[in-house]
């Protein structure tokens, strides 16, 4: 009898222990993670700034240095949250009412986190940060695009803290002055080079993933129709794609990917990590050009031979006497509308353009996780003169090319609309390029699809 009771008590206590254990494991653990800094009481003391930064290609060290410098200069305390999955961390935190003061997370990411915050009207207006003094210091036009003013209402919500000119990156061991192939400037020359490369068993072009066409299409639209046409395209003008300019852009892309594309591009583009195989094709000389930004140098450093040279040129023009348009990709910092310490957050954004931060960013180094090797990874803040301080090399050349006198620097992204069910901009605009390259979709079908998307977006523009 006694044994039975003991057995029962044991059974019940084991079951309870299991339940308590499971429930405890599910509880939130605010102590873990890479949150630096002292107090974690979640309070909103005026002197504590919560900075949430995406840990990506720029590395983690730069954020520790910037926040340390800010703490010193402003005599405050910074709690730094660094994560490569910042969108997931912040979604959880924000839902629990723990809103950071300032966030570094770019537009155009797979998670669409910043876009969603904008669509939910959850980002604060920071126009007053950019007073005349700061505007005078910054690159001309960098604050005018839809990547700073996402609603196109003249108010700034996203601070462009870093910038990178984009264009066609090429194998400069094979292409350039005195090399096997001459560097083309117009589309006709570009396609002629394609024929020449074909005869040598090489392809003219590849792309890491169709999404990389964003910067190319922005530059081509500005090139084809000028800045007014470009800006109205970003705000979903109904004639964007049916106009002469729009048709010219689509037909040129179609000719490029139908006739001159590296054969394995589409297969590699959609598999996990396959974009690197396409990038490697340029290094190996199987393809000559691809759309990219200067991050590709660090991204491919492990598999780049020491005698290999990168080159970067603007997207080709239709005629030699046109002004060259170069698309500048910016990275964004913003303040959530519900941030507890907005004033200090605004000071932090201002601080991002200070000489201290400019120099820290230029001196940035990253450590390769596999080899442990440290390499230079300069980041450029969009203030005048910052890019001039870069060491000589392809990175400096690419920045110089975007600010030359005969070049128009273009920024901006498709304007922010109210959420549209079933529409994913990247998928709708760029993914058809995969089908066009294989001949399964015609330019007319692509054009028709884009007109439909533009109509939907124009209707949902806020």
């Amino acid at each position: 009898m006694k044994r039975k009771v003991v057995k029962k008590v044991l059974a019940v206590s084991l079951v309870s222990a299991m339940t308590v254990g499971l429930l405890a494991a599910c509880g939130s653990d605010s102590g873990s993670g890479s949150s630096d800094g002292g107090s974690s009481d979640g309070g909103s003391s005026d002197n504590v700034l919560k900075v949430a930064a995406f840990e990506g290609g720029n590395g983690a060290e730069i954020w520790k240095q910037i926040t340390a410098a800010f703490e010193e200069e402003y005599d405050c305390e910074v709690e730094l949250e660094l994560s490569s999955e910042l969108d997931q961390v912040l979604t959880k935190n924000i839902q629990n009412g723990d809103v950071p003061d300032v966030v570094y997370y770019n537009l155009g990411q797979e998670s669409g986190f910043t876009e969603t915050m904008l669509k939910e009207q959850a980002v604060a207006d920071i126009s007053d940060v950019f007073d005349d003094e700061l505007r005078g210091k910054m690159l001309d036009g960098i604050l005018d695009g839809t990547d700073a003013q996402p609603y196109g209402d003249g108010k700034i919500y996203l601070a462009p803290i870093f910038y990178t000119p984009t264009g066609f990156w090429y194998n400069a061991t094979l292409v350039g002055e005195g090399k096997q192939y001459a560097l083309p400037t117009t589309w006709d020359e570009f396609f002629a080079l394609g024929e020449q490369a074909k005869a040598d068993g090489r392809s003219l072009f590849t792309y890491p993933q169709p999404g990389y066409f964003d910067a190319t299409i922005y530059a081509m639209l500005a090139q084809a129709g000028g800045l007014d046409y470009y800006n109205s395209a970003l705000e979903y003008d109904a004639d964007t794609w049916t106009s002469e300019e729009g048709t010219k852009v689509l037909e040129t892309i179609s000719e490029l990917v139908s006739n001159y594309l590296f054969a394995d591009t589409v297969s590699n583009a959609n598999t996990d990590g396959g974009f690197k195989i396409n990038q490697q094709a340029v290094i190996d000389g199987d393809a000559l050009f691809m759309p990219n930004g200067n991050w590709v140098i660090g991204e491919m450093a492990n598999s780049t031979p020491s005698d290999y040279e990168w080159g970067m040129m603007g997207v080709p023009k239709w005629s030699a006497d046109e002004t060259q348009a170069v698309y500048t990709f910016t990275e964004q910092m913003w303040i959530p509308a519900d941030a507890p310490n907005i004033d200090l957050a605004k000071e932090f954004i201002k601080f991002m353009y200070s000489d201290t931060v400019v120099d820290l960013c230029l001196a940035n180094k990253t450590t390769n996780a596999e080899t442990g090797e440290e390499s230079d990874a300069p980041i450029v803040v969009p203030v005048k003169g910052a890019a001039d301080k870069l060491p000589e090399g392809v990175t400096k050349d690419s920045y110089a090319a975007s600010t030359a006198d005969d070049v128009v620097a273009v920024t901006g992204t498709w304007a922010t609309t109210a959420p549209i069910e079933g529409l994913n901009m990247k998928d709708a605009v760029y993914k058809p390029i995969d089908s066009i390259s294989t001949g399964d979709m015609s330019v007319e079908e692509w054009q028709e699809q884009l007109v439909g998307v533009w109509e939907q977006c124009a209707g949902a523009l806020e």
């Binding site: 339940t19 915050m117 169709p210 297969s267 959609n270 069910e421 079933g422 998928d427």
Partner: protein, 296 residues
Amino acid sequence: MNRKRAQGRFVFFCIAPAAILVTLFVFIPTINVFRMSLYRMGGITNRKTFVGLNNFKSLFNDTNFLQAMQNTIAIIVLVTICTIIFAVLFAAILSRSNVKGKNFFRVIFYIPNILSIVVIAGIFGAIYNPSTGLLNTFLEAIGLDFLTQQWMGNQRIVLYSIIFALVWQAIGYYMVMYMASMAAIPEDLYEAASLDGASEMKIFFQVTLPLIWSNIRTTLTFYIISTINLSFQFVQIMSNGGPNGHSEVVLNYMYKQAYGASVYGYGMAIGVVIFVFSFALAAIVNKITDREVLEF
């Protein structure tokens, strides 16, 4: 009386934890998915607007969703048919005939189940690679160059490439299940059949298949549920729905909408449709395969 009460209390305390956990982690989230599907929300802040059944209305006009649904159904049907045929065939061969190295084959067939889906998808990614992959290189080596393909790049082939990987990983698991029920069939039934002069083929269709029928019926439900889940994992790694949506499946589409397109409520509506669809499909399959259970 008192004892009965005590026993009741004991049973209650033993069942309560499991019941609480299931309620907390299965029922409440499921109800929440249904509730959230009625809202327009981004899923980050707590701002939301009640839109009734609007999300469902948009869903049936969304060609991308319909394409994903079509692909999912094609995958379920083809994976189920191919896996059943191969799994039953191999199970019959391994359990009925005297193949040498039976146990060895059983282990080999089961190996895919030990590997994680990420590894299998990675392996197939490498096999399908157009220039360095095993498949194209093999075809070239045996002089069948004209059969080489862009296995993951050709939008008319990509879905079948994924189906092949799904079938490959599923065969072993179901084969072991069928072998277990074949082993339970008494040997005298087979002896009687062969004394009557039945051929091996006839024995398979008249004795083996009817006697493992209830097992096959159970596995049909497994096929539906596991194919919906696994196709998401395979597609995410092998193609992410590409090229241009031609290998998109509903769960991946739901994920992209909920976590990448700022329409979390719409994503939940897709979740509800998948939930209802899988339940309905399992019920229909269960109904039409209903036969009188043969006992031995």
